[in-house]
């Protein structure tokens, strides 16, 4: 398998992914690993319709998405995998989807305790999932769009959100 980008983005497929990350990574397959949207017929259809022709789109549960990426039939694809949360990424990793790096793009938690850059807030569960992924050897970084500077997530954990 060739994973050109594994990304946590709670907007999943949207402008930044379509217009910046696809050209940058030259991905020819986008996998949205999300249990909720895999079963949401209309949202799934509209999301798939946004992807340019010539790029394969898979919107399936975390389990089915992992199976797809690991299948030897798909080993020649350049795959971009999108997760809505660090927990989903950890789930996929534990099922065998071993991405070496995890990009944090967009994540907004109303109950967040840490703010990383302007597009990421993490709650305690997110921090624990990311810490676990890191202990498994995943390099976790922040980069909203390719033109942003790539930064390790640890260096960005500074700004604590004051409880309101």
């Amino acid at each position: 398998m060739s994973i050109v980008l594994a990304r946590v983005d709670n907007r999943l497929i949207h402008g930044q992914v379509l217009e910046a990350w696809i050209p940058n990574t030259k991905a020819n397959c986008i996998v949205v690993a999300n249990d909720e949207i895999a079963h949401a017929g209309m949202r799934k259809m509209l999301m798939a319709a946004a992807v340019p022709r010539g790029i394969q789109v898979i919107i399936e549960t975390i389990e089915d998405s992992t199976r797809f990426v690991l299948s030897p039939d798909n080993s020649s694809l350049r795959v971009m995998v999108l997760f809505a949360s660090p927990d989903d990424a950890l789930h996929a990793y534990c099922l065998g989807l071993h991405f070496p790096q995890l990009n944090l793009g967009n994540l907004h938690r109303p109950q967040g305790v840490q703010q990383l850059g302007c597009t990421i807030t993490l709650d305690n569960a997110d921090i624990s999932s990311l810490t676990e992924l890191e202990s498994k050897g995943v390099d976790i970084n922040l980069q909203c769009v390719p033109s942003d500077r790539l930064r390790g997530w640890r260096s960005m954990i500074k700004k604590k959100i004051k409880p309101s």
Partner: protein, 133 residues
């Protein structure tokens, strides 16, 4: 009258409305929703809901016009789709908004949406091509 919500990335929506109003004067039942990088989905959804409620108050339906199919303004707009009441038209441009403002009265949501979809596409022209015809 069908209400209009213009929803885009950054400040484009507000500026499109401001520009249309410069040409046509104040536009009733028109609202702008602008989406910034740091905005969370719940926050955006609330802003959409508010805009749809305000411009749709007379019950004739709301057309959400977004900048780009597949972008966040469209994606969140889709969650408000309701047959005959809310529809989403992507690729908004100034001619479409001007036309929408002039053609709204007496048209159903569906008629207006189809008219604007076609008009928006027809409003994109290449000067050199016109000259060589």
């Amino acid at each position: 009258m069908v209400g209009l919500v213009i929803a885009t990335h950054c400040g484009l929506a507000g500026e499109l409305v401001r520009t249309a109003e410069m040409i046509l004067g104040p536009l009733p039942f028109v609202a702008a929703v602008e989406i910034l990088r740091g905005d969370g989905p719940d926050e955006i959804r609330q802003r959409f809901q508010h805009a749809i409620d305000v411009v749709g108050q007379d019950g004739e339906g709301v057309l959400v016009m977004t900048d780009m199919f597949g972008g966040t303004p469209s994606n969140i707009g889709f969650s408000f789709l309701e047959q005959g009441l809310v529809d989403v038209l992507s690729g908004v441009n100034l001619p479409m908004l001007l036309r929408a403002s002039q053609e709204r009265s007496g048209r159903s949501l569906n008629e207006l949406a189809l008219l604007l979809r076609n008009y928006g596409q027809q409003s994109i022209l290449l000067a050199s091509e016109i000259l060589t015809k």
